[in-house]
Symmetry: C2
Subunit: 137 residues, 2 copies
Amino acid sequence: MLSRKTKYGLKALIYIAKQDKSVPVLISEIAEKEHISKKFLETILLDLKKFGILGSKMGKGGGYYLLKDPKEIKVASIIRVLDGPIALLPCVSLNFYEKCDDCPSEETCALNKLMIQVRDNALSILEKQSLYDLASF
Amino acid sequence: MLSRKTKYGLKALIYIAKQDKSVPVLISEIAEKEHISKKFLETILLDLKKFGILGSKMGKGGGYYLLKDPKEIKVASIIRVLDGPIALLPCVSLNFYEKCDDCPSEETCALNKLMIQVRDNALSILEKQSLYDLASF
DNA sequence: CAAATAATCTATTAATTCTATAGACTAATT
DNA sequence: AATTAGTCTATAGAATTAATAGATTATTTG
């Protein structure tokens, strides 16, 4: 399951993507409209900023805005930033790979092979779907 | 990601499925061969027993054995027993459904629709793959 | 019956992650 | 200068995960 953090992050990004691009969006507005704790949302948006998905402006007229074309922001990358691996096992993760220390060989591991399939299947959707798709739903 | 518990449980079940069916398998044997803490494995196998996947026999010559044909034991059901939902959001889970309290309507929720796709895609593999398939890899 | 074997049960702990909050601080605008 | 709004640090509470400990019960075999 995705963490709440990730779900909130996705919702916030969708919210921002739906707004007029020329005006930064307030944290407090997103928090209210999407029913998310404002303080919690702050830390989430800060993460998204750190990874270059969002930009921000302080002071009056400030807020958060997308740094890239919504069509270029894929759901997979958002999940990776906020939730970590999409794969079901570390030994099968493309971006967060870790060897299973209980496993002598990935070559002969049936679980490894199965989870690669599951991963690729999930990615075939999540790497394709963008913020644009979600916002225009 | 799957919990270690689930990974260990899957590995143990595969191990059992590979053995001669007429002889119960020892926890200690599985623990040693698969490099899993024996005590931890005890609780995992107990869970699998509780759910009717495994049977057990105490005393000398005892151990754990499969209660069903390995072809009938699907990976999806094992994951559900040990890990819970396969879906990425509660509002999209078939077996552990929960409404998102921050979400006014699932009908108009883009995330909901997307995660249903991801779920169905994962299930198309996990509901098909059985212990038999994994054991004969 | 006694000894050995092996699962069962209860419980507790340690570690980690998740969720959320608090408060002081900095930057920008008017 | 006042107001607005994001930034930073930190911490705390809750939940979950991972693992361990020790006593107990069931079964087989000699």
